[in-house]
Symmetry: C2
Subunit: 299 residues, 2 copies
């Protein structure tokens, strides 16, 4: 089955102590769509300016991403620039220029309103809700977020959470949202806000799923070199929903393996700047890492 | 088969924002011996003062710990006091009074020199080496450590590492020892220092084993309430070696399950002050958590 992804479509300029990488393809929807595309037909809902490089449109097309709902409008593409410290754990934002993203208010073509798998990748929760309003009986809706929305749009986020099946956030965001330092109890509080499935991302420490079938501790693929973790979380949730949409059977049956597939895609994302490595990988290479992860946790 | 443990035997006074717990039974050897005792005959090598409460000797005896090599000498027992912050993640030492521990130089009775499983729990590496010098062809030697020894006794630690089969340390210590932020590459550097098996403790994020059979990502048991993590690392390595000594077959065959058993014992340790909860648990309750952990990681 197919997947629809709404989120940001951006140009990212990423500095590290060793290199400077201007105007990479970035944004939550870009990472998530490419990740999902390894497993399912994927449609992108986004907006870019006239300055958006043709090679990036071609990259989307190379991954057979449906661009019917990608608006290309006069003005500048959303541009984010940031800098990582030596250990790649601390990142600081140097500049955020919203450009055409400021006026983004997607109207979905009818053909996309019935897509069964919906990924509300990281953007303002009001925009996530706006897209969800247009969907007709989706089979599975998953929302991602970031700390910014907890700080400036909590009411919108709480409204959204009542309407999604699954919610993805990182461990510090889970603690912030619930005011609870203990993840297992924080998760219970998040379930009470609406989502049936809660997925906590813990970076190199893997992730944690809470579902009606109980807890699942998902591994992260151990990487010997992290080049650029930007977009890893978006790749994770993209790979997750792409895999899920590709499988027969219930969400409950497939979600654990879907998470591990997401984790494997995210590991490729971290190995290159922007989408450089993700876009060069294959479904076979991803499945190989999933098998390695299986061996890594067996006892 | 049987296990010998050398380490500190102490009285711990532990403050949290909610309570004050003076003179609990503590020390690396106390936690590790009790943990190992659930699976194997365990002997304690340690020293305490005449002030050491009889009830703590009885607690050791309740767990059938052999006390032939526990010296009880005039003077005061090693006393550590510390304070945890609200989230139980940050701890600060309020006082360290070495007492009789200052003169500790264990001489092993002949009966203990042939014990096959040797745990050098966290104490000064020179003392760990001093005990190892007295052992005759042990089957398996594992050493634990702490950041203090990296700071003040690195040469002694490096000498020790050339002589042990397995080395246990936490993630920040692994980074400090190797000057490498990436755990997989840090582990490779630690192997080069001697140990065939390297085990990295990551607290609530579980642990990581590197062995000739490859990497193993071991889960931590998700706890809804952490009362006092003091001694969790000692319980982990104690449970690990106790289980290992109880199993037929090679270390390579049993080490993954041994780590998970250690992880399960450590989870009980965190649920009460000092040894309060560990000492009330049973082998059956530990095995039950191991089975839960098996389900938690399956996909």
């Amino acid at each position: 089955m197919s997947v629809i992804v709404v989120g940001s479509t951006a140009l990212d300029s990423i500095k590290t102590p060793k290199s400077s990488n201007p105007r990479l393809l970035g944004g939550s929807a870009s990472h998530a769509c490419v990740a999902a595309s390894f497993f399912s037909d994927t449609s992108l809902i986004g907006i870019v300016g006239k300055d958006f490089p043709a090679r990036y449109l071609n990259l989307y097309r190379k991954h057979q991403i449906n661009l019917d709902a990608l608006q290309i409008v006069p003005g500048k593409t959303f541009h984010w620039s940031g800098e990582y410290e030596v250990n790649m754990n601390n990142r600081r934002t140097l500049a955020t220029e919203l450009g055409v993203f400021e006026t983004f208010s997607p109207e979905l073509p009818k053909s996309l309103q019935k897509v069964p798998y919906v990924l509300l990748a990281n953007i303002a929760p009001a925009l996530q809700s706006h897209v969800l309003d247009q969907m007709r009986k989706p089979k599975f809706v998953i929302a991602d977020t970031m700390d910014l929305w907890l700080n400036i749009a909590m009411d919108d986020l709480l409204k959204l959470l009542r309407r999604v099946d699954a919610f993805v956030l990182n461990d510090s965001e889970a603690r912030q949202l619930t005011n609870d330092d203990n993840l297992p109890t924080a998760i219970r509080k998040i379930h009470r806000l609406g989502p049936k499935y809660v997925i906590i991302k813990k970076g190199e420490h893997g992730s944690l799923l809470s579902s009606p079938k109980g807890l699942f501790l998902a591994p992260a693929y151990p990487l010997q070199k992290v080049v650029d973790p930007t977009g890893a979380g978006d790749s994770f949730v993209g790979g997750l929903i792409g895999y899920l949409a590709s499988r027969p059977g219930s969400v409950d049956t497939n979600l654990r393996r879907a998470i591990v597939h997401g984790s494997a895609v995210a590991s490729f994302c971290c190995e290159g700047f922007g989408l450089n490595t993700t876009t060069k990988t294959t479904r076979q290479a991803i499945v190989k890492r999933v098998k390695e992860l299986e061996k890594l946790v067996q006892f």
